[in-house]
Symmetry: C2
Subunit: 450 residues, 2 copies
């Protein structure tokens, strides 16, 4: 089965490397799909990677492999490859992938490579490098089929056979006017079903979905997904067609954005760290825990402030975990719903008050339910009416404040254009911890008169 394909590949390549079975390895490496090889490379040492890489004969395959590598593997491996080889590989890659790859190298490396590339190619790539990484311009390909609107179907097919042989996704043909401005689109399928001498503007669709170069890549991805299209054309300020974004890149955007959001929410940076070394992972995760540490120390001082009350009623401490836990969990629920809702377009930042008040209502209801339940446990254990009421009220206030903070903070962040996912993880949880502890002790000391 295909899903275990790369697993089997890793095992057999490792076995052959140990045995030094070069000719066998060469056969496997050239038969395997380069996308599978880029997964295999995660499990090999640098020198093994380099050995395998040199065995690949097709520069196209080398290009696909390089594009699929993790950043740290790529940076190490590229150091070992001859400059001429790199240039040859890049010349066989679609230029958005070239721009993407060069963007991941140091400025010095990328300049050296650009200088060596053919003038025409390197200009295209430099154009692409001008755009921000995460915008339509930064991810588009400049290989697309653009024909004048009066081209006939027959001429269009001929140009597919000659001029546009290398275009990656030749499923849409874009029609442009004399200034290169986008005026319509036809699918390859329409082209083969119409009479050969029909001009494009007789059968093209003029209501074209398009995006502008500066649109955020996530917005672009949402458009492609919503309207089930295979590619979306990109235009500049003057409505000139400058590139297209294809559906395979859209898939990558969604997966990358989902991973980023998930990792940010958990406070682990935004890049996948598990394949990095222990020390690198530790360094990335360390600062995120600092928020939680500071929060814990603040909570420590708050509780320290109530030390006298605690000496009198030691069992007050026993309720700290349940109050913090309930607040923390409902806060995570609220903030996750908001972050994912904003990411998928289910929620919109202008709905802020509607969403926050709804979350607050849910927090109050759930706080009532669990506050009563935990208050009842307190009563059962200690038979002190006022203690039970204090604990119940503390759970209620902790949960409703958590739902409020958990929804308000990411909404507010999104509104001032800060990534809401960052607001979620450690920061919201820590804030909720502090508030919960403070309210609990304030309520308890007031009600119990200590």
């Amino acid at each position: 089965m295909l899903n275990d394909r790369s697993r089997i590949l890793v095992d057999s390549i490792k076995r052959l490397l140990r045995r030094g079975a070069i000719s066998h390895l060469r056969k496997i490496v050239n038969k395997a799909h380069a996308a599978d090889l880029s997964v295999v490379f995660r499990f090999l040492s640098l020198s093994e990677q380099h050995k395998l890489f040199e065995m690949i004969t097709e520069p196209e395959q080398k290009g696909i492999l390089l594009s699929g590598l993790d950043e740290d593997i790529l940076l190490d491996l590229i150091e070992r490859i001859e400059l001429d080889d790199i240039v040859e590989i890049l010349e066989h890659m679609p230029n958005d992938d070239v721009a993407d790859l060069l963007g991941r190298l140091s400025e010095e490396q990328s300049n050296t490579i650009l200088e060596r590339m053919k003038k025409e190619d390197s200009e295209d790539v430099e154009d692409l490098l001008r755009y921000e990484d995460d915008t339509a311009g930064g991810i588009m390909v400049t290989d697309f089929i653009a024909l004048r609107e009066d081209t006939t179907a027959r001429e269009a097919i001929e140009s597919l056979q000659k001029e546009y042989v290398d275009v990656e996704m030749p499923f849409y043909l874009y029609a442009v006017d004399e200034y290169g401005r986008l005026v319509g689109v036809s699918s390859l399928r329409q082209l083969v079903v119409v009479k050969p001498d029909t001009p494009l503007n007789d059968f093209m669709t003029t209501d074209v979905f398009f995006v502008q170069t500066n649109m955020d890549q996530e917005e672009v991805a949402k458009i492609v997904a919503r309207y089930d299209i295979l590619a979306v054309p990109v235009v500049d300020e003057t409505h000139q067609l400058v590139g297209i974004i294809t559906v395979d890149d859209v898939i990558d955007i969604f997966r990358q954005e989902a991973t980023e959001d998930i990792l940010k929410m958990a406070g682990v940076g935004e890049e996948f760290v598990e394949t990095k070394s222990i020390l690198k992972s530790t360094r990335i995760r360390l600062p995120w825990l600092f928020a939680s540490c500071i929060g814990g120390i603040v909570a420590f001082f708050i509780i320290g402030h109530f030390e006298d009350s605690l000496s009198k009623l030691a069992y007050l401490a026993a309720f700290i975990p349940v109050i913090m836990g309930m607040g923390g969990n409902i806060g995570t629920q609220s903030s996750t719903i908001v972050v994912r809702g904003l990411a998928t377009g289910r929620l919109h930042i202008s709905d802020i008050w509607q969403v926050v008040s709804k979350e607050l209502a849910i927090g109050l209801i759930l706080g009532l339910v669990y506050g009563s339940l935990i208050g009842f446990v307190a009563q059962f254990q200690y038979s002190m009416g006022m203690l039970a009421v204090s604990v119940g009220l503390a759970v209620l206030s902790s949960m409703s404040i958590a739902a409020l903070v958990g929804s308000l903070v990411p909404m507010a962040f999104a509104r001032i254009n800060i990534d809401p996912a960052v607001a979620t993880g450690p920061f919201v949880t820590t804030a909720i911890d502090i508030i919960s502890v403070f309210f609990y002790f304030t309520i308890a000391t007031t009600f119990l008169g200590i």
Copy 2:
């Protein structure tokens, strides 16, 4: 700009509904993309939805709209539509979408509809309904282009003009043998560039990526994404071509699976609840908080057990939040990395010991760093060497156990085929809370001799 398109649409439709501007509404509704309308429907009352729905003239558009609706909106709306209208709409929809839609209705509703549909269509749909929802069979379309391998390019193009006019994504032509078994694939582009009388088997690719009907949809999606293909053919046990899965469905799968994982990790079920009513959301979120509640009550009894020590040293309580918080946060980091790593294929269940021991090492290092820091704060505040050491050790053990549990539990769950995302949220956090509190008090009472 397109990204605010649906927002503007909602506002103008609401305004026109208030004004009762029927003819204007009819124009807008029929000009808007049905995918946009399905978003608009979230913001309208049921009777408004029904009114707008009836204004749409094209059954295709009605179908796209219905497919895009949230389940609860769909179920309410479909009750109001005449059976004959429903049948007409379904006959204009691709049959995977029909199967999907019927799968969301009650058995009774879906049987009534199937009985009314044309025999041929309903048989196709019933075939699709036999497959599990989340498998290749459950999401494939049965509209595809299959030609005998000796068909010439010219004949293939003619069949596109006659036989296969309705095929949704006509970009690949599959070649089958006399038994209908998949033997090759050609792209529409190859078809137009070869000489008209070349037979398919002269230019088709015989190394075709394919999946079997019972493959999990997430695996299918990964294959389409990894190899950058626009559709993957689905075969049954006898290698007969029975359907294809197109890239637009793959995008939906990735988004849906990411949302599910994120929501499960936060303990909010697996469906997006924010657009549901307050009571519905509360009901869905309530049980997930129960784990945390039970955990808190367990922690409560553990601390209660140490009540005597607490009366002697009240400030022991002050460190509970920081110890729980640090453990909780690093546990979330570990489990999130594992869950996302498994989902994206970066980690494999067979790496379990490697991953867990790495996480444990990271937990120990980070535990040392933060244990020392928090121990230092304890020393600074209370000047009691043994207390500082106990607190430091408690942080160290809490963080390393949290990293261990946080990585081991989802890995182990994945191994026994339970969704690892479920293991993450409230359950892992709660377990870590309990363990942390228990270790802390055991260490502190031992070291401080109380």
